[in-house]
């Protein structure tokens, strides 16, 4: 059962998918598992749905693991999904959120890449799609969205780690989310979780033009980062992608924002131990705990500020 699962260890995709089923079994009236598509190598793309009822409620989207080697994100995703299920009915803010909104959570957003990190190359970042024109495999799924696609901050070279792919949404892992978001039509917050630069971003990455909601997003970020840092003192910076880190085109939250999802954010989780993508497993739970505090700020804000 989920109560005996080791959250302080890294797990394979099979273990994570099995754990998802256990979570659904443990909380049948709250959690369900839906399949939104298939990866390039035909692995199912699963999303956990947390819902207390109602049809097509406004919703919050969370995802982890789009860059497969960022293992701390999938691990944080597992802990967080469990926390959401456990805290409903206990934590007033989680209860308030789920009493009015649904939460969709994709824990392994890039399953082919993730499986590849376990079997062949721990440092794999991209998808595993074959590029017909090249011997190099994979597309950076965080450069493959239809937001400034192919512009500066993405590479046209299939051998690059930031290869944008042949066209926007060419990757089934990206297209599945695009279709889901469009079909749902009522997603109000979208949080995509990466590692490891200790940052919280809002759009844009592909242009230096500030988003119309910059002021509000900046204020939420400030509050979220303060909450996160309050637990272990982890030092976070926040701001728009282009001003805080670098120009990046075709990114996830630029597309979601342009779709009308105002509360679009991206995290870069911690590496206080300076291990990069090899963050020791003992840091999983502290990372998840501090991130949870920031996530609650964002989710609660979305819940309290309908638009």
């Amino acid at each position: 059962s989920t109560s005996t699962f080791d959250f302080a260890s890294y797990h394979t995709i099979d273990e994570i998918y099995y754990w998802m089923d256990m979570l659904v079994d443990d909380h049948p009236s709250l959690v369900s598992k839906i399949q939104i598509g298939q990866s390039y190598e035909n692995r199912p793309l699963y999303v956990l749905k947390f819902s207390t009822g109602g049809s097509n409620r406004s919703a919050i989207w969370l995802d982890t693991g789009i860059h497969s080697r960022e293992w701390i994100t999938q691990a944080t995703g597992i802990w967080t999904a469990n926390k959401i299920a456990k805290e409903y009915g206990q934590d007033p803010s989680v209860t308030a959120i789920l009493d009015s909104m649904d939460i969709f959570f994709e824990i392994v957003t890039n399953p082919d890449g993730f499986a590849f990190t376990h079997s062949s190359n721990r440092m794999w970042r991209k998808t595993r799609s074959i590029n017909p024109s090249s011997h190099c495999v994979g597309v950076d799924p965080n450069r493959n969205w239809d937001a400034g696609f192919g512009g500066p901050g993405a590479s046209g070279n299939p051998c690059s780690e930031t290869y944008h792919g042949p066209y926007a949404n060419s990757e089934p892992e990206v297209k599945a989310i695009v279709d889901f978001v469009k079909n749902h039509g009522n997603i109000k917050a979208f949080v995509s979780i990466h590692s490891y630069s200790q940052l919280l971003f809002y759009p844009y990455g592909y242009t230096s033009t500030p988003v119309p909601d910059q002021k509000e997003l900046d204020q939420i970020s400030k509050k979220a980062v303060a909450a996160l840092s309050s637990l272990y003192g982890t030092n976070y910076k926040y701001g728009s992608i282009i001003t805080t880190i670098y120009q990046a085109s075709g990114g996830t939250i630029d597309w979601t924002y342009n779709q009308g999802i105002k509360y679009s954010f991206t995290f870069e989780l911690r590496d206080t131990g300076r291990y990069g993508f090899l963050l020791p497993a003992k840091e999983i739970v502290p990372t998840a705990q501090e991130t949870w505090l920031a996530l609650k700020v964002i989710m609660l804000h979305a819940r309290n500020h309908p638009y």
Binding site: T4, F5, D6, A8, S9, Y10, H11, S119, S120, N121, R122, M123, C159, E161, Y196, S197, I245, Y246, R274, Y275, G276, F277, L278, P280, A281
Partner: protein
């Protein structure tokens, strides 16, 4: 399975825009097969670069000859990977 024996991750701090440009040029040299874990962004901000063992000497000479300061963040990537694998195996063996 790809092994990373002897690969290092260097933490590099560029002091100005010129050095950042140099780091980007370094990253584009396909024959070195370097991998930016954290990209160079602005002066004073650290960038992390995984360098395969065969390219270590060339990369360090490049950095030193351009007066770009760096430290070794990970001495041997494979050692950490072995440690990670050991932890996962141990965790699976633990009775719950």
């Amino acid at each position: 399975e790809q092994l990373f024996v002897g690969d290092q991750v260097l933490r590099i701090t560029a002091s100005d825009e010129e050095q950042i440009t140099l780091l980007r040029v370094l990253g584009e040299q396909a024959e070195l097969q370097v991998d930016f874990w954290r990209h160079p962004t602005s002066p004073g901000q650290p960038a992390d670069l995984r360098v395969p063992f065969p390219s270590l000497q060339a990369v360090k000479i490049f950095l030193e000859s351009n007066s770009i300061s760096y430290s070794i963040m990970i001495e041997d990537v494979q050692e950490l990977l072995d440690e990670e694998k050991k932890t996962m195996t141990k965790s699976r063996r633990v009775e719950r």
